[in-house]
């Protein structure tokens, strides 16, 4: 019989992987099949409303502005993002979503909301409150763990390199 830790740890990893996989498959099968998940997350970080600076968006995504610039170049070419110089400070670059970008962003939010709605619909009000409180605690704990690496040059990049190395090891 598996220990509680094993059940929890396997479920956490599986949920994370399956949410990402489902999102990826729904993207490929939907209206925005030319977008990768990473690109969709970039659109979500920019958001459907006010324009944002490159620096703040890169910070929210946990990537460098250099990495974001490459991603934005592609998204501009694909017609999802508009890049403009700030009218008050020409050194600042602002990015916002085109109509298609807004559509993609909102459709993706809907995907997440529908998923959450279906999960919650299986519980009564009391259980839903309890479940949300527990999920929130897990969320806070994992976010705390991530903050321990604050100051690391590029956490995402480091994580990707680790993933690449372990893939190589398995080959």
């Amino acid at each position: 019989m598996k220990s509680e830790e094993e059940v929890m740890s396997e479920a956490l990893v599986r949920i994370f992987e399956n949410v990402v996989l489902t999102e990826e498959k729904s993207l490929q099968a939907g209206y925005f099949s030319d977008l990768s998940i990473a690109e969709m997350h970039t659109l979500t970080a920019i958001g459907p409303y006010e324009s944002r600076t490159m620096t703040k968006t890169a910070e929210d995504l946990g990537i460098t502005t250099g990495t974001l610039t490459v991603a934005i170049d592609r998204l501009v070419k694909k017609g999802y993002v508009i890049r403009q110089r700030d009218t008050n400070d020409k050194r600042v670059v602002r990015i916002s979503l085109t109509r298609n970008g807004k559509l993609a962003c909102r459709m993706n939010s809907k995907f997440h909301r529908v998923l959450a709605k279906h999960i919650l619909s299986g519980y009564n009000e009391e259980d839903r409150k309890h479940l949300l409180a527990l999920v929130n605690e897990v969320d806070v704990y994992v976010a705390q763990q991530l903050r321990r690496y604050d100051g690391a040059v590029n956490v995402r990049k480091t994580a990707m390199e680790v993933a690449k190395d372990s893939k190589k090891e398995n080959e």
């Binding site: 209206y31 459907p48 109509r99 807004k102 559509l103 909102r106 459709m107 939010s109 809907k110």
Partner: protein, 85 residues
């Protein structure tokens, strides 16, 4: 004053709706249910929402849209959000 503003918003909402859904404006009734009586798929719904946001310079997040059942509800919401603009 409110009546003429409502009439204006109503006309514009119907115009946008009929363009996004590619249906005649005469076929749209204010009491129609957005989810069951109008031929929306989710992409068209968001096209409609984004067009409204841009036309009235307002924000219509999903939490707000969840409360909207009819075209009338949308008109009332726009009235409320643009009050004083």
């Amino acid at each position: 004053m409110d009546d003429s503003r409502r009439e204006q918003i109503y006309k514009e909402v119907i115009r946008i709706l009929s363009a996004d859904l590619e249906v005649s404006a005469e076929d749209i009734d204010t009491t129609m249910d957005l989810n069951t009586e109008l031929p929306f798929d989710s992409l068209q719904l968001y096209e409609f929402v984004i067009d409204l946001e841009e036309a009235y310079n307002i924000k219509l997040p999903d939490e707000m849209l969840d409360q909207m059942k009819t075209v009338d509800d949308i008109v009332n919401l726009i009235m409320r959000l643009t009050d004083g603009k």
